[in-house]
Symmetry: C2
């Protein structure tokens, strides 16, 4: 998994689901919903693993942490498994979210359907720019960040999504935490410091691209050590590979 390490593992011996497993449960859940929509009511670990893009032993081990019971010789009951995973992920309740920063990205996020599709409700949009306050987006009126305490209390918000520019992110984060938010999803390209007990996850386009760059670079170098190889696509890949060869 990424270096995203929410607070330490639960102390309870048995309810402790490994972090790597937790990160995959939503993927299984999505695959299961798709299968359910296709009318499947039972699925083997092999088939589900394929749909989720993992190997079947891993899937079975993951599910075993839920105490999940499939039927040997048959597979898993789709509806039952959806229920068990939803329960494990805490999706049996509706979480309420505040989105801070309604710029370019914030707008897109506010309109994103995937938000509401899995039990998350955007209950508030906040921004520091007074010119944006009052603007209506996706049925909500933008409020000023200074109202964060009231908003969090009124709406029972537990998750904050930060879509501000990087320089503003830490202060916004502090304000959210002070208001009682204990989970943060950060789209701003920066590291956030939070007290113990607050979880942060980040989504960072630029980091993902750089990781791809690493692999692309490696492929280009490893491939033909001759830098100016013409590759299948017809395009000339990695015109600068010289530099890399003599590393």
């Amino acid at each position: 998994m990424s270096d995203q390490r929410p607070s330490a593992r639960a102390s309870s011996r048995h309810r402790g689901i490994p972090e790597a497993t937790v990160a995959r449960l939503p993927v299984y859940l999505r695959a299961l919903h798709a299968l359910a929509d296709e009318g499947m009511d039972t699925v083997s670990s092999e088939a589900l693993a394929l749909a989720a893009g993992v190997n079947s032993a891993k899937l079975r081990k993951d599910l075993s942490h839920l105490g999940s019971y499939g039927t040997r010789g048959v597979g898993y009951d789709v509806a039952l498994l959806v229920d068990q995973i939803s329960r494990a992920l805490g999706l049996t309740q509706r979480w309420t979210v505040a989105l801070v920063g309604v710029g370019n990205l914030g707008h897109a996020l506010a309109g994103y359907a995937g938000f509401s599709s899995r039990g998350f409700r955007i209950a508030a949009l906040l921004d520091a720019d007074p010119a944006r306050v009052g603007e209506r987006i996706a049925g909500l009126s933008v409020r000023h960040i200074s109202e964060v305490n009231a908003v969090v209390a009124e709406e029972g918000i537990s998750i904050g999504v930060i879509a501000t520019p990087a320089p503003a992110a830490q202060e916004v984060c502090d304000q959210l935490v002070a208001a009682g938010v204990t989970s943060i999803l950060n789209f701003a390209p920066c590291v956030l410091n939070v007290p113990d007990g607050v979880d942060v996850r980040k989504v960072d386009l630029s980091i993902e691209l750089q990781i791809l760059s690493f692999h692309e670079h490696r492929k280009a170098v490893q491939h033909g050590s001759t830098p100016l190889t013409r590759l299948p696509g017809g395009a000339q890949r990695d015109p600068d590979a010289r530099e890399a060869v003599n590393e």
Copy 2:
């Protein structure tokens, strides 16, 4: 790291940088740029680790994979380290990117500054909707997806970013790969199948929220086993914790 596992480790014994390390290098790079902007020209592993949100032993071990040389008793030369990490990540060249899907999210991505800030250039915008073709966004004219082969060849594109709805993503992915793209960043909420040698990374809002949900849920249950505890923020957290308690 997430279950994002690009192709197998390089066979070369020594150029093999662990995947977990690769995923952190961009974070270090960002921190180093910030330090450089503040005029620092030397930094200790302790200080850099703090800025990057990791522990210092991990940072040193990571850097050791680059064959990076700091100075004992002093620390690392900021400019030199920027250079070494950039080189390791393949950022000494400019990668060219095609963005497919100019809906809500695609628009936001096209306008995202962080793209160009680190050596990535969006060279083409593509969409399947004829009504969108010709639209100008961020200085580029949207072209039809059917032109993908020509576009990839013309611009030497090696990275494709998919920001389409989920049902279209696999087909777009196949088209990109057929055109010669070997790295994909997927924003669509679905699993992509690609042949060996093609790397995929995904960015998935809904999955991140569900992971936060898990931890939020766990905190709520662990905290007061009494579900209706009133928490600092004044809001009533996890009104549904009953369900969880008797799991």
